[in-house]
């Protein structure tokens, strides 16, 4: 196994642990009674970060250039933006 391969396996493991931690933060925020605009924005931001980690690190699109990664990034931020708009509308 090459040094770079070790690093990339380590990256995958760190990504997994980060995803677990971010999920627990989302859950804890709701359990601690955080509500309203800050919960919505915080939880959505965490969901987008987690989505980006899945796309780049787990799906392996980090180094895929031309079409697929930009499409999935666009998907993530469009869906996130529309959900935020619906939740924050007066």
């Amino acid at each position: 196994m090459q040094k770079g391969d070790h690093e990339l396996l380590l990256t995958s493991t760190i990504t997994w642990l980060l995803l677990l931690a971010l999920t627990l933060v989302t859950y804890a925020a709701a359990q601690l009674g955080v509500e309203g605009k800050w919960l919505i924005l915080g939880v959505l931001a965490i969901a987008l970060i987690k989505g980006k980690l899945i796309i780049d690190r787990f799906m392996g699109l980090r180094w895929v250039g031309s079409f697929w990664r930009p499409m999935l990034d666009l998907y993530l931020f469009t869906v996130g933006g529309l959900i935020a708009t619906a939740f924050l509308l007066p």
């Binding site: 196994m1 090459q2 770079g4 391969d5 690093e7 990339l8 396996l9 990256t11 995958s12 493991t13 990504t15 997994w16 995803l19 677990l20 999920t23 627990l24 989302t26 859950y27 925020a29 709701a30 359990q31 509500e35 919960l39 919505i40 939880v43 959505l44 965490i46 969901a47 987690k50 989505g51 899945i54 796309i55 690190r57 787990f58 799906m59 392996g60 699109l61 980090r62 180094w63 895929v64 250039g65 031309s66 079409f67 697929w68 499409m71 999935l72 998907y75 469009t78 869906v79 996130g80 529309l82 959900i83 708009t85 619906a86 939740f87 509308l89």
Partner: protein, 215 residues
């Protein structure tokens, strides 16, 4: 869990081995136009993600016009089940990453083991979600109870069916890997199945906060 390679190197490995001496190999800053696995699965993934996106956005705007109803019934959901299922799917996705890495190193048996681990976690997801459905149904709650439950059951059950489909795909690939049907140079099937499973995970990562947490 033994020797393995990173999944992100699958497309570049052959080129690297021809052009760069092993001692000088690096693992970043190399781009490719092709995603891991069969391109057809990526077209399918985009189509599936579009359907889920539409459902998510319709849910969010419907909630805006029925705020009290949605907030009231959302609080009756068991968010611990949602949490357990999120942790379960993330971990199963990680197992699939390790399976791809194992086969890229030519270790088909290890690949198969990681895949069976991911399938077991998929079963756990279905079990937890099944218990949740059973609880709702025992209280007489169904699709027609109110608008919130129409969305909640439709969205989560649609995802539930995708988990089952993903598990079927992973099972076929795990069996083939166990028989030595993949190797370091030919493992498109493993990457294709992995891409689909990660899509199922990605959808849940939006669905969980949207339905269980945000209010």
């Amino acid at each position: 869990m033994g020797e393995s390679d990173s999944p992100v190197l699958s497309q570049q490995k052959a080129t690297l081995s021809m052009t760069v001496p092993d001692s000088n190999r690096t693992s970043c800053a190399i781009t490719t136009d092709y995603p891991p696995g069969d391109v057809a699965i990526w077209i399918f993934i985009l189509a599936e993600l579009s359907v889920f996106a539409l459902l998510f956005v319709v849910y969010a705007f419907t909630r805006h016009y029925n705020l009290e109803l949605f907030d009231l019934h959302q609080q009756q959901l068991d968010s611990r089940s949602g949490l357990i299922n999120t942790l379960t799917l993330i971990t199963s996705s990680y197992f699939v990453v390790r399976a791809v890495a194992a086969i890229q190193y030519g270790n088909a048996r290890l690949c198969s083991r990681w895949l069976w681990g991911a399938i077991a976690l998929g079963l756990l997801f279905l079990l937890v979600k099944g218990v949740e459905y059973q609880h709702h149904f025992s209280l007489g709650i169904g699709l027609s109870t109110n608008l919130f439950y129409t969305f909640y059951i439709s969205l989560t059950f649609f995802h539930f069916m995708h988990v089952i489909m993903g598990m079927v795909i992973l099972t076929v690939v795990a069996l083939k890997a166990g028989r030595g049907g993949y190797c370091a140079t030919e493992h498109t099937g493993v990457e294709t199945a992995a891409s689909y499973w990660h899509m199922v995970d990605l959808v849940w990562l939006i669905l969980f906060p949207l339905v269980y947490v945000m209010r």
